[in-house]
């Protein structure tokens, strides 16, 4: 599914990621944990193709394709989804319109039939209900004036609509109360299947109580310094990053 080999990334000449290797097989859930400034969000942004990151060395293969050959929108088309840490507001564009435009854009890329209004609404209602997203929110402008929890729920809704092959969750748990956390986790668990992989980036072990990872990696100074199973996350919670590294 995803293979990262010897990745080095600079941001404005500052070395952020320094020799990162990671491999995710179909159906696996990986968690990346690490202190502030360890390069977690940089990794998410490099994977999804955001500008401003200078890849100096290394290779990333996604579904047998060189990821760096693909524009961000084509990575999305191939099935890479990023749930943003800070979802962006787009005033005046209704969620409904945004969702339908994106889903059909991606369906076109995948050479699937576009959804007409009726079918789209059907799918949308079903998914929205599952993650307890109020339909009123979907009619409002994208993320505009949403609370932290509402924004994250909206990200999960988009994820479930776009049916990615690899979903990256960048600190999706931050700013969520316990009920919202459970709903988000529930949404993710429901999407799990043997082809779909997840990369969960988080500070805290909390989310991993609800989404059980197959592998946990500790990121420090741009490198994975330790990998293990879900127990590593629990150990980390007890001892802190200092205690582990």
């Amino acid at each position: 599914m995803l293979k990262i080999e010897g990745l080095h990334v600079n941001v404005e000449d500052k070395k952020i990621i320094q020799g990162l290797d990671l491999q995710i097989a179909p159906g696996e859930v990986h968690a990346i944990m690490g202190p502030n400034g360890s390069g977690k969000s940089t990794l998410a942004n490099v994977l999804s193709g955001k500008d401003g990151y200078d890849v100096t060395k290394g290779k990333i293969t996604f579904l047998k394709k060189n990821l760096f050959d693909l524009e961000p929108e084509n990575r999305a088309g191939e099935g890479l989804f990023l749930a943003f840490q800070y979802p962006v507001e787009i005033p005046g564009v209704s969620g409904m319109n945004f969702l339908r435009t994106t889903i059909n854009s991606i369906r076109r890329y995948r050479k699937q039939k576009e959804l007409d209004g009726v079918n789209f609404l059907k799918v949308l209602r079903e998914k929205a209900k599952f993650i307890k997203m109020d339909e009123k929110l979907i009619k409002r402008s994208v993320n505009t004036g949403f609370s932290g929890g509402e924004k994250k729920r909206s990200e999960i809704l988009q994820m479930s609509l776009l049916e990615p092959k690899l979903a990256i969750l960048d600190e999706t748990d931050s700013g969520l109360d316990i009920d919202a956390l459970k709903t988000v986790a529930n949404g993710v668990n429901n999407l799990k299947n043997k082809e779909r992989s997840f990369l969960i980036i988080t500070h805290y072990q909390r989310l991993l109580n609800y989404i059980v990872p197959d592998k946990v990696h500790v990121l420090s100074k741009g490198k994975i310094v330790k990998s293990g199973d879900k127990n590593l996350a629990i150990e980390l919670e007890k001892k802190g990053y200092e205690g582990i590294m």
Binding site: D51, F84, V88, P91, G92, F98, T101, T102, S105, E114
Partner: protein, 483 residues
């Protein structure tokens, strides 16, 4: 309705730059180049106009000779040689037309290229279309149905022949022939245009629509439109423009006058897409238009909605004179400038009557090296007791070589009036773009989506079929503005 899907499809379907760049081969009936009293007389004579109208034209022409081209706007352009232009051209009339079958097939096929087949439009949209081809109207549809209600919807020339008393009563009463350089020029040489009269108590059952097209080379366009909504009546009027590609600059100086009497309402919507010039700034239409409405009657209302995507230069201020008590004026505008386009546009709300209200929502979008200026006047006269205005001007910048300017003028001459002005300037942020791209939209569709969102408050004022066209145009106009 998925706006952006539509936009995307349209953008994709356009292989090269300007979609509507073609010229129909029709023989034109042209007056010689240049402008003098003889030309004015020739135009008037060709149209078999009554003497009072010729005299009016001549007065305008003599006034124009003494006037100077205005230079207060933010737009820059080379000096126009008014003697190097044709002032009259018309498709050669074969005979009087009763049905579409009699219309020149070349003209009909032009409409098809524009995606507006007459038949379909008639049937599906229920729109009576008065096509202005070059300067002379060639086909008017739904006339019978309208005439049963007493509605007059015809070319200006026809109105001069058939309803001279109405034309004489109202022509020049909102925009006098002395008004400004371009309006005065128009008054002297206007070729044709549309005339609408809605009798008392009648609600026009369909949107009235005119499509304009500049067609003959080097032909200045001087349209004249006059719309009168008599007491307790209502009409919605659509004006859409597409022009063929060409190299030489073209002057377009139209005049539109609207008049509402007691309790009447006119809704006037424009989608303007004249040729904007190429990406180097060569060519393009100069659109110097005077549009003004007078709310003469109490409780009357005039609403302007415009989507300005075309023209090399746009110079246009659709205005409302709120004479009647409790009258309402509205102005909703989207103006896009890309490449080297310049727009200086806005409105004037002149509050004269008691308890008059006006709303101004202006959205300016600048991309490439485009320069976009909002210029607006809100005047509360001494008798405009409890007059109210709300103005909102938002500017959106795409790239770092374009400009947005806001020039509001506010004059308040009575204590009870309230005037509010809000203005914002923003850029499409990299984060917004990336967010959309991560969800699978390419750059052009992402821009189109964000821009359509930015303009939403204005677009929702457009009649449905026009809104779709406008949304497409926004996407097309901003092609190549990112990446």
């Amino acid at each position: 309705m998925s706006i952006d899907l539509e936009t995307k499809k349209t953008v994709k379907s356009i292989t090269e730059k300007y979609k509507y760049g073609f010229t129909t081969k029709i023989s034109s009936d042209k007056a010689p180049k240049g402008l003098n009293e003889d030309i004015v007389k020739l135009i008037s004579g060709k149209k078999k106009e009554p003497k009072w109208l010729l005299d009016w034209r001549l007065k305008a022409f003599r006034t124009w000779l003494k006037m100077k081209e205005p230079n207060w706007s933010m737009v820059k352009f080379p000096k126009i040689n008014y003697q190097d232009s044709y002032y009259y051209s018309a498709p050669k009339p074969k005979k009087k037309l009763k049905s579409l079958n009699e219309v020149d097939p070349a003209i009909l096929s032009t409409y098809e290229k524009l995606g507006i087949p007459l038949e379909e439009q008639k049937r599906l949209a229920g729109v009576a279309v008065d096509y202005v081809f070059d300067s002379t109207s060639v086909a008017t549809t739904f006339k019978e149905q309208l005439s049963k209600l007493g509605i007059i919807f015809c070319s200006f020339s026809e109105a001069v022949q058939k309803n001279p008393e109405l034309v004489k009563k109202y022509l020049g009463t909102v925009i006098p022939y002395t008004d400004n350089y371009f309006a005065t020029l128009n008054s002297a040489v206007f070729s044709d245009g549309s005339f609408v009269y809605i009798p008392p108590g009648v609600r026009c059952p369909m949107e009235l629509s005119t499509y304009f097209r500049i067609n003959a080379e080097n032909t200045g366009q001087f349209e004249r439109t006059l719309i009168i909504a008599d007491k307790d009546s209502y009409v919605s009027y659509l004006e859409g423009c597409t022009a063929p590609m060409r190299d030489e600059n073209q002057l377009h100086a139209a005049c539109v006058e609207l008049i509402t009497l007691d309790n009447a309402e006119i809704k006037y919507s424009t989608v303007q897409n004249w040729y904007p010039g190429d990406e180097k700034g060569k060519g393009g239409v100069y659109n110097f238009v005077t549009k003004r409405g007078a709310c003469r009657g109490n409780n009357s209302k005039i609403s302007w909605t415009q989507v300005e995507t075309g023209s090399a230069i746009t110079w246009k201020y659709p205005s409302c004179i709120l004479q009647g008590d409790n009258s309402v004026g509205e102005f909703y505008s989207v103006a896009i400038t890309n490449n080297f386009q310049q727009a200086d546009t806005g409105t004037k709300m002149i509050h004269l009557g008691k308890n008059t209200k006006s709303t101004i929502i202006s959205k300016g979008i600048s991309a490439g090296r485009g320069q976009n200026t909002y210029r607006g006047l809100v005047r509360m006269g001494p008798k405009a007791k409890d007059g109210r205005n709300f103005t909102q001007c938002d500017s959106l910048l795409i790239g770092d070589r374009c400009g947005a300017h806001t020039v509001p003028y506010i004059e308040v001459k009575n204590q009870s009036a309230k005037v509010e002005h809000e203005a914002t300037t923003s850029k499409i942020s990299d984060d917004q773009m990336f967010y959309c791209r991560q969800r699978g939209l390419d750059q052009e569709n992402a821009v189109s989506l964000i821009v359509n969102g930015f303009c939403k408050e204005v677009l929702k004022e457009l009649p449905m079929e026009f809104a779709v066209e406008a949304q497409k145009l926004l996407g097309i106009s901003l092609e190549g503005s990112v990446g």
